[in-house]
Amino acid sequence: MRVAFVALLLLAQADAGWVEPLQTSRAPGPNEQRVRITIRAIAASNEPGGFDQKLAPIEQHLRNFGEQFRYQSYKLLEEKTFDLDWKSPAEIELPGSRNLQVLPRQLAADGKIRVHLELLGEHPAHSRKLHTDYSIQRGGTLLVGGLRVDPKDERSGTLLIAVTQAVEK
């Protein structure tokens, strides 16, 4: 199934090649060949515990998040950093046998990074739970949350995924 999805991503990548010349974007320069994407899977819960020290790079984002969502603690479950070529997909396994896949599409004319993101559900169906295209500035973070850390355990906390991207010079 995963192989099929990667094939789909490659197909989407090829499709994007038809569309991109029409859009206001510029091709990555010779010194901007790779995108660094860091994906963090976080368990947010109402149990006391505060911030996991490993979440320091995105602590400010989580504090702003906490202003609206009122979670008491944030614990890092998984972290992975990818140095990707443009239009090269990356994948990370999340708790509950779910997958997150990201594909940096292009560097837009305004300096933003355009990213395609897909969240797939548990084995064996791997149903698509979310897919999105977004543009974000270098160093920006996208948060995806709301699912349970353990789909079968209501008390396992809420899964929060932080996707931070930067362009390597």
Binding site: H61, Y134, L147
Partner: protein
């Protein structure tokens, strides 16, 4: 018997021939039956005759010789308007004579002034919030599909985008 209080106000106009036919007929019928009202009508008629006679006598005694000269002499003795008083009189007369036209002209002038102000005033500088929305650094969710979930997209205070999913619809 018709009521006297209703008939008395009609007695004078009846004498003047100023009543409509129905009222006149009604009043005459009442007078035929009511001696009191006949006396009242006679009194009214006598008073009218006496007044007419008096007025005619006064008119006959009045001297209108040189009337126009006396009016002009009196007008010449009136004090001239001082200062801006003549403007007040002029304005009052003009306002009375052309009130509608002046109001319409005033409204058109006010609308024209407003239009000129809108046209010539420089555009207002964008406030901080507007600048924020125009900031290219704000992330944008260009497309999102939630599959079998309900979901929402929101932005935190620092413009960090958050995609929030609910658990599966059952």
């Amino acid at each position: 018997m018709k009521r006297c209080p209703d008939a008395v106000p009609l007695l004078g106009p009846l004498l003047d021939g100023a009543l409509p036919p129905d009222d006149s007929e009604w009043a005459l019928e009442h007078l035929r039956e009511c001696a009191g009202c006949r006396e009242r009508q006679a009194l009214i008629a006598a008073q009218g005759a006496a007044l007419r006679e008096k007025m005619l006598a006064r008119g006959a005694a009045a001297d209108f010789g040189g009337f126009a000269d006396r009016v002009l002499l009196r007008a010449g003795k009136e004090e001239k308007l001082r200062g801006l008083e003549h403007l007040r009189v002029y304005g009052s007369e003009m306002w009375g004579a052309h009130k509608r036209a002046l109001l319409a002209a005033g409204g058109l002038a006010a609308a024209a002034c407003l239009g000129l102000a809108v046209f010539f005033l420089p555009p207002r500088a964008a406030g901080p919030e507007e600048l924020l929305y125009a900031d290219a650094s704000i992330p944008q969710i260009e497309e999102v599909e939630f599959g079998s979930h309900d979901g929402a997209v929101l932005h935190l205070r620092d413009q960090t985008p958050v995609i929030w999913l609910s658990e599966d619809r059952q």
